[in-house]
Symmetry: C5
Subunit: 354 residues, 5 copies
C-alpha cells in the first residue's frame, strides 16, 4: 500500500534562512567523492567536507560530490561557500517540500528532482528529494536518505570504456536524471499491474471497499502527476540553456529523456482516465445489485401475496359459503393455488428474473 | 468554518472617483514609516501624512510607508499627490474587491494582493486586500485592517546584517509578497488537514450533511483559486518588467516565489480533484445504504410471506381438510414451517445478505 | 425570471445588404448630439441626420452622435455615407445578433457590445446591442432601444472639470464600454444573490422543480459567457491597435477594464462550477429521500409481517392445538407479539432508521 | 430526423490515384460556366469540358466553372491538366470524406468545405462536399450533387451593380464560403428549435426514449463540430495567405465570416453543454419516478399491513378470547381499524407522500 | 476482441546499451534490399548485412533496406556502424515500447511509428513498432515481425511510371508513413462499425456485461490515442526540418498526411465522447429496469394487500358479526373485492404502470 508522508513547512522565515525541513532520515551525513577523467578515477568517502577542497582545483578532471542526509546544515553551508552557491539554492536543497524545477544561475545549473523508490517488502513508495548542482567540471548531488540509487552509475563510471568517462559532468547529470526517470517507469509498471488486477476483480465482484481503493489510487496518481508535470518543464528548460555548461552532444540525450517523461505523464493520465471510468463500473454494479435484490423480493411477493389472499378468502366465516362444503373444495383450491404459483414463476422465469 | 464576506460594489461612478468600497475595519487610519539604508534605520508612527514629506527627500535612503485602514480618503489622496500616483491606482487601492494584479506605471509598480489570514479561534479566514506601490527608493503598502502580518519583516529590517538592509525597496517588495504567499501555505495546510480528516470519516460513515460539507469546501477552493490564478500572472509580469525599479538580483528571488505560487495552485487543483471524487464516494455510500435497507426488507418478506401463506391455508374453513384432523398435523406443519424459514435464512446467509 | 429573447436571422442575402434584423423596439429613431471640447459643450436632439453635418466640420471639437433605434435604415445609410463607413460595418450595426467584437478600419474603430439591463420589476434581463464607431474626433453610438444607460456619462460631460472633457473621444469610448461592463457586475451580483439563496434552500429541501431551476441558471450562465468571452478579445484587441485613434493615456484605462472583464468571466465560470455541483447535491438529495421512504416501508413490514404470521398460526383450524385451550394462551401470545414488535422497533431505533 | 450517411474509404492506393470515393449522386456530370467582368456577363451550360478553354484565355475577365457530380473522373482529370492543378488536389476533390481545409498551392488556393443542406420534407440533413479552387482570374467549384445552393449568387452576378461584378474571383470565393456558412446558421436554428422544444417536454415528462433522443442529438452535434472546427482554421489560414490571389479588400470580408464561424461553433458548444445537462435532468426524473412509485407502495403497505395484523389477531382460535364475546367487540375493532388507517393516511398526507 | 500485449522494460541500463526489449516475433531476421532510380530497379533478399555494402556506394541511386525482426542485435549494430547511426537511435529501434517520435540527427532523420494491423480472423489488433531512418539517398526500415504491409509499395516501386521512382527517398519515407496511417483508418472503421452496432443493441437492451464492453472500448481508444497524438507532432516536426533530406515537393505531401492524422485523432476523440455518453445510457437503463421491477411489485402489493385485509376481517371470530349470517353476505363481499381489485388495476393501467 503506497503512502506519501506529510512534510513540515517553513513559513515566515527570512528567505535564505537555512533550516532543514523534513524528517531526519539518516543518522550521519555521508559524503562520497568521485574524481575522474577519461584516463583515471578516484573514489573516496569523506569524513569532513574540507577534504574535498584539494580535488576541486585539479583542472581537466571531473568531480562528483554526493551528500546523503541533509541534517547537518553546516555541511551544506560549507559546500555553499566553497562552490559559491546562491543562498536561495541552499535553502531549496534543505527544504524537501520542493516542486521539481531547474534554475540556471549562470555559473551553475540547479535541479531538484523527486526520486520515487518502490519498497516492495513494505509495499510503500518513498519519495526522496534529490538536488543536483553542476557547473563546468563539478557536480554535487544531495539526497535525503541513503538509498544508493546511483550505485549502478558509480559502477559504470569505473569502466574506462563508458560514455560517462568520455563526456563531461553535464552527461553525468543527464545520467542521474535518467536514473530518476527510470524509477518512475518501475513505479508506474507496479501501479499498472495493480490497477489492472484490481479492475479484473471489479468486473467480477465489487464491495463497499472498492470505492476506497479507487480513491486511494486516484490520490496516488495525483501525487505522481505532481512530481511529473514540472519534470517536463525542467528538462525542456535544460535543453534551452544557452551556456557552455551543457554541451550540444548532451542536448541530444536530453531530448531522449524529455520523451521518456512525456511517456510517463501520458501513462499517468491514462490511469486517471481508467480509474475514473472504474467509478462508473462500480456505481453500475451497485445498481445491478439493487436490481437483483428487488427482483428476489418482487418474485416472492408477487407469487405469495395473491395465494395468501385466496387462502384468506376461504378462511372467512360466512355461514353461506357453498364451496366450503363441497367434497372436492379443498383439493380444487389447492390445485388452483399451485397452478397460479407455477404460472407466475414461469412468467418470471421467462422474464429472466429468476 | 471558513467564511468569505461579501463586498460592496461601485457601479456607475466616474473612473477615478475615490470612494472606499468595503466595510470599515479600523477606527483610525494608522500610518507607520520606516526609513533605512544599509547603515541606519528610523521607525516612526505618524499622526498625519504630512510628516512623511521630509523623509521622502533623503537621497540614498529607502523609505517604507505602511497605511493600515482605508477609510480616510483624504489620506490616500494626499499620498497620491505627494508621490505622483495615477488616479486609477488610487481608485484600485480603495476598491477592495480587486482581483490580484500588477501594473507598471513606469515611475512606479503597483501590486494588489489578497492576504488570507487564518483566525484559528473563530475558525474563520479573513481576506485582506494589500496594495503595494514601489518606485526607485520608496515603497508604500496599504492594508484594510490592522493585522500586523509584516511585523516579522519589520524585525528583520532592524537587523543590520539582514539582506533587507543591503538591498533596495524592490527586495523589500519581494519580501512583502513572499510573506503573503507564505500565508497561503498555512491556509492550504489547514484545509488539507481538514479535508483529509473529513475524507477518513466519509470512508467510514456518511450522512446527508456530508454533501453540504463537500459543497462548502468546493466553494472555498473556488475562492482560493480566484486569488491564486492572477497571482501567477502578477509575478511573471513583475519578472518581465524592463525598468530599473526591479534589479536583476531581485529577479532571481521572484523566480522563487513564482515557483511557490505554482505549488499552491497545484495543491488547490488537487484538492478540487479530491473533493469531486468524494462526491462519487458519497453517492456510492448512499447506494450501498439503500442496498442494505432493501436486503433487510427482502430477507424478512421472503422468509415470512410464504410462511404466512401456509398458516393461511390451514386457516381455511373447508369441511373436508383431512390434515386438520390428524393427530400430528399441527406439529408437522409447525416443523415444516420452521424448516422452510431456516432454509431461506441459510440461503440469505450464504448470499451474505444477513 | 430572466429571459433571453430569440432573434431573427438573415441568411442568403448579399453581404452588405442593409436589413434591420431584430424586433422593432422604438417607435421613432431618436438622434442626440453632443459637441464638446475642454471649454464648451453643446447638446441637442436632432430631427434629421442632416442637421449634424455642420457640427462635424468644427476642428478641435469632439463630437458624439447617439442613435436610439435601428428601424429607419435610411438614417443608418446616411450616417454611413456621411462618415465614410464600410458597408460591412453598417450591416453589423443593423444585425442585432452579432457577437461582441472590435474591428479596426484604419480611419475608425468599430465595436459591438451587448448591454445587459436588469429590469427588476419584470425580473427580466434585456439584451441590447450597442455599436460604437469612433474616429479621431467623432464617436457614434447606436442602441436598439431607448434605455438611457449613458445619461450619467452625459451628466459628467457637462462638468468642465471632468476627465471626459480633457480627453479625446477615445476616452469617451472607453467610458461607454466601462458603463456596459459595470452593468455586467450588477447582473452578476443579482445572479449571485439568487443562486446563493437558491443553494441555501436546496440544502434544506429539494423538489422536482429544483433541477429545472438549476437548468435555467445554467442556460443563463451560457448566455452571459457568450457575451463575455468575446469582450476579452475585444478589449485586448483595442489595446493593440497601432493607430492614433487610441491615445497612450487611454490605453492605461483599457488595461483597467480588461481586468474587470476577466473578473466578470471568472465569476461566471465560478457560478457554472457551483451550479454543476448543485446537481450532485440534488441527485444525492433524491437518493436520501428514497432511503427515507424505504426505511419507513422496511420498518413497518419487518415489524408486522412476522406478527401477522404468528396470528396466522393461531388462526389455523387444527383439531389438536393445545395452546388454543390453555387458559392464558391468548394473553401469552399477545404478550409475545408485543415483545417481538418492541424488540424490532428498538433495533431499528438503534440503527437510526426511525 | 437527421442522418449522416457513411462514406467509403480509400486505403492502400498510391497517393494521387484518382478514384471517386462516395456514392453516385447525379446521373450526369453538369458543367456550368459564367464569364464576367464589371461590364458584361456570359452564362452557359457545357456539354464537354473542352468548350471552356476559349473562355480561359480572355484577360481581364473572371471565369467561374461549376461542376456538379464527381463520377466522371476524366472530367476532373481534364480540368486538372487544363488549369495545372496538383494531383493531390484532384485526389482530394474526388475523395468526399475530406476534412474541411485550405491549401495554398502558390498558383491557386484550394478549399474543401462541407455544405449542410436541410431537407425539411424528409427531415434529413444532406452533407455535400464542396471544393473550390481559385487563382488570379478563375474559380472552379465542385459539388457532389446538383443542389443549386449557389443560384442566388448567380442571380446577384447578373446584377451589374453588385459588388460581385466589381470585385475579382477572390470576392466570389468569399461569397461561396459565406453561402456555405449561412446554411450552418439555418441548420443550427433548426436544431436549436428542436432541442428547445424537446427540453420543454423533458421538463414535463420523460420516457425511456428520452435518452436515445439526447444521444442522437449529441451525435449530431459531434458531426457538426467536426465540420466546423476545421472551418475556423481554414478561414484564418486564408486571411494569412501572402499572395496576390486574395486582395486586401477581400480580407476584411474574410474577417467577417471568421466571426460568423466562431459564432456557429460557440452555439454548437452551447448545445453540447445543454444536452449534457439534459442527461442530468433525465436521470433525476428517473429517480423522482422511482420515489413516486415507492411512495405508493409504502403508503399502501404501511396502512394495510398493521390492519391485516389486527384482523389476524381476532381470527385466532383461542378459546379464551373475551373480546370475541363482547357485544360491541366487532364494531369497536372495526372503528379502531378505521381510526388507525385514517391516522396513517393523514400522516402521509402531511408528509406530502399522497 | 482487441488485445494490446504488454511489453518488457529496460531500466537501469546505460543509455545506448543495445538490448532488444519485446517478445521474439520472427525466427530469423529477414533483410530485403531495393536499389532503384528512375530507370532501373534491383530487389534482393540478403543473408547477411555485409552484402548490402556494395549497393550503398552507388551514387545517384536510391537504396531501401528493410529489416524484419529485431532479435539479432549484431545486425542492428552492423547497420549502425555502416550508416553512422547514433547509439541512441539504435537503442530506440530495439526498444519496442517507444512513443512515436521523429528526431533529426542532421545526417539522417529517425522516425518511430506504431503500425496497427487488424487480424480479422483472430479479431485482434497487433501493434508493430516500425522505425524508419532516412538520409539523402538511403532509407532503412525496421519491423518487429514479418507482416508485409509494405508489399503494395514494393509493387508500385516496380512500376517505372510511379511517382516513387521519380522522387527521392524522402518521398518513399512519406509513402511508408502514409501506409501506416492508412491502416489507422481501417482500424477506426472497424471500431466505428463495432461501436455503432453495440450502441444500437444497447438502446434496445442492456446487461451487466455492457459496462465491461464499454470499458474495454474506452481502453482501446486510450491505446489508439496514445499512438496517434505523438504522430501529429511527428509529422509537423518533419515539415519544419530545415535540411536537404526533405525536399519541398515532398513537404506538400506531408501536409496531406498531417491532415489525415488530425482526421483520425478527431474520430478517436469522437468515439471517446460517444462511449462516455453510452455510460449515461447504460446507467439510465438500469434505473429504468429498476422502475419496471418496482412497478410490478407495487401493482401486485397494492391490489392484493387491501383485499387480503378484507378477507382477514371476515375471518375474525367475533360472535356478533351480523354480515356473516346474511344470506348474500359472501357473494356481496366477493363482488366488493372484485370491484376494488378491478378499480385499482384500472388506475394503474391509466398510470401506464401495467
Amino acid at each position: 500500500m503506497v503512502t506519501f508522508r506529510k512534510r513540515g513547512s517553513k513559513v515566515g522565515l527570512e528567505p535564505g534562512t537555512l533550516v532543514h525541513i523534513g524528517e531526519k532520515k539518516v543518522e550521519k551525513v555521508k559524503i562520497k567523492i568521485v574524481v575522474y577523467d577519461s584516463e583515471k578515477i578516484v573514489e573516496k568517502e569523506l569524513d569532513s567536507i574540507d577534504e574535498c577542497i584539494p580535488f576541486n582545483d585539479q583542472p581537466g578532471t571531473n568531480f562528483w560530490l554526493n551528500v546523503d542526509g541533509l541534517d547537518k546544515i553546516e555541511v551544506i553551508e560549507k559546500i555553499g561557500s566553497c562552490f559559491n552557491i546562491h543562498p536561495l539554492t541552499l535553502e531549496d536543497i534543505l527544504n524537501t517540500g520542493q516542486r521539481p524545477k531547474m534554475e540556471d544561475y549562470e555559473s551553475y545549473v540547479y535541479t531538484v528532482l523527486k526520486m520515487m523508490i518502490l519498497d516492495k517488502e513494505k509495499d510503500e513508495i518513498i519519495i526522496d528529494q534529490i538536488s543536483i548542482i553542476f557547473g563546468c567540471n563539478y557536480i554535487i548531488s544531495f539526497q535525503e536518505r541513503e538509498v544508493d540509487v546511483f550505485s549502478p552509475l558509480r559502477e559504470r563510471l569505473k569502466n574506462p570504456a563508458s560514455h560517462l568517462r568520455k563526456n563531461g559532468v553535464d552527461y553525468l547529470a543527464y545520467c542521474l536524471i535518467d536514473a530518476v526517470i527510470d524509477n518512475y517507469f518501475l513505479i508506474l509498471e507496479h501501479f499498472g499491474d495493480e490497477i489492472e488486477e484490481f479492475e479484473d476483480q471489479l468486473l467480477i465482484r465489487s464491495s463497499p471497499e472498492t470505492i476506497k481503493v479507487i480513491q486511494r489510487y486516484r490520490r496516488d496518481m495525483i501525487t505522481l502527476r505532481k512530481s511529473l508535470w514540472p519534470l517536463r518543464e525542467l528538462i525542456s528548460g535544460m535543453q534551452r540553456i544557452e551556456s557552455e555548461i551543457i554541451k550540444d552532444t548532451t542536448r541530444i540525450y536530453l531530448r531522449d529523456i524529455y520523451d521518456h517523461t512525456i511517456q510517463v505523464i501520458d501513462s499517468v493520465e491514462d490511469y486517471r482516465d481508467i480509474l475514473s471510468s472504474m467509478v462508473d463500473i462500480y456505481l453500475s454494479s451497485l445498481s445491478n445489485k439493487m436490481n437483483d435484490i428487488m427482483k428476489v423480493l418482487t418474485v416472492i411477493a408477487t407469487i405469495f401475496i395473491p395465494l395468501t389472499f385466496v387462502a384468506g378468502v376461504y378462511g372467512m366465516n360466512f355461514e353461506n359459503m357453498p364451496e366450503l362444503h363441497w367434497r372436492w373444495g379443498y383439493p380444487t383450491v389447492m390445485l388452483f393455488m399451485a397452478l397460479l404459483g407455477t404460472t407466475m414463476f414461469a412468467y418470471f422465469k421467462k422474464k429472466k428474473w429468476v
